[in-house]
Symmetry: C2
DNA sequence: AATTTGACTTTTTAAGTCGAAAAGTCAATT
DNA sequence: AATTGACTTTTCGACTTAAAAAGTCAAATT
């Protein structure tokens, strides 16, 4: 039948796929490999997923959901807007380090190949912006930030954050990041966030 | 002889090459076309330039020099550090709009092909950072900015500025920018600069 | 009925070939 | 010194091909 019931098996497949995609990337992972990792035949995979692209998308989507779930918990807490912004950046960094596939979408021209990936990436960006926008709006309301255009600044903030990462990756000619690279990105992102927060904060007195 | 004297002719060649490269790009411009544009044979071009790559590099180098010359004039003027930063961003924007070849280096994976281009781009970035670093240092000395790490913040500022442009270009699927795109980039860059300046400025009282 | 699979077809891609066009060279000429 | 026609070499897109991977499905298994 076209609608499989065994949701437990789906989780197993996604987890196996995630490991392969993490390690070898989309192109260098075959459906046969994923299948045999969990003692299934390739044909069985196609019983649960329409194609390889959708399996990959599902892997990323789960990584995304996991991130936004953690982020939403934070937004509910009673923190200052500045603290929430900082938390967002730190959490985002940690998740990108952990979930490599999610980060791949960010690379230039990766998402332009398949429309499904672009859509997913756009969705991710939109959700990021929404969260940032809410934090900024709360910051304005709470007299913490200046009366700025929250929509514009959330766009700007997210674009800067993403661009910063891309620029640093571009500087390394290799596409694989070392521990030092991660430290550098973290350091830059943290400094950037501090400057940005101060830049939109109300000046005392 | 291996060292041509006619520096006037070299200028003519570079100008002809610049027009072709501006309009058609590196790949779609042939040496024969450049030569015939100025009534020369292709072989003559090779009398003045060792190869196509070096001619292209020379075109960009001239655009670069033109930009840094204009920029240096500004740094000598008696302006606040904040004004100089703003001026830098505006001038940079104008030059990138005018000198398209210079901007091409910035595109991801353009410089990775030929080592000569990467070298040129790295040099450009280094000079940008030097200028920004000097401005920030002056700003600190003049009690205008906080006592921040000038080297770190010049790296950060330039990376953010470059990343922002790349991110906006990435959003458009086409690689050719419209007038609206330019306005958007300008708007974002201006807002970013304002936030950054405020973010590193001394808080009153 | 839900799930699985071997055997199948179709699509993708890497590798190799080929020819035209462009890059690049050089001896002879002005 | 500067220029060029005639030349060789290199590059690159188009095409071919074969292997591998994607994707399908009727039949078998649970």
């Amino acid at each position: 039948m076209s609608v499989p019931q065994d949701s437990e098996k789906i989780k197993v497949i996604i987890e196996a796929a995630r490991k392969r995609f993490d390690h070898y990337g989309l192109a260098k992972t075959t459906m046969t490999e994923i299948a045999s990792d969990i003692g299934l035949s390739k044909a069985s995979l196609y019983y649960y997923f329409p194609d390889k692209e959708n399996l990959f998308i599902e892997v990323i989507r789960q990584e995304m959901e996991s991130f936004f779930e953690a982020m939403n918990k934070v937004t509910c807490q009673s923190l200052t807007a500045a603290e929430k912004l900082r938390y967002f950046v730190t959490l985002r960094f940690d998740y990108f380090k952990l979930f490599l596939n999610m980060g791949k979408l960010e690379l230039p021209h990766f998402d332009s190949v398949k429309p499904g990936f672009k859509k997913l990436n756009d969705e991710f960006i939109a959700r990021e912006k929404k969260i940032i926008c809410n934090i900024i709006q709360a910051g304005i309301k709470g007299k913490e930030f200046e009366k700025i255009d929250a929509a514009l600044h959330s766009d700007l903030f997210v674009s800067l954050l993403r661009g910063l990462r891309v620029m640093i990756i571009k500087e390394r000619d290799s596409f694989m990041l070392t521990a030092e690279d991660y430290d550098l990105i973290k350091n830059y992102q943290t400094n950037f966030t501090s400057v940005y927060i101060k830049g939109i904060s109300k000046t005392k007195k």
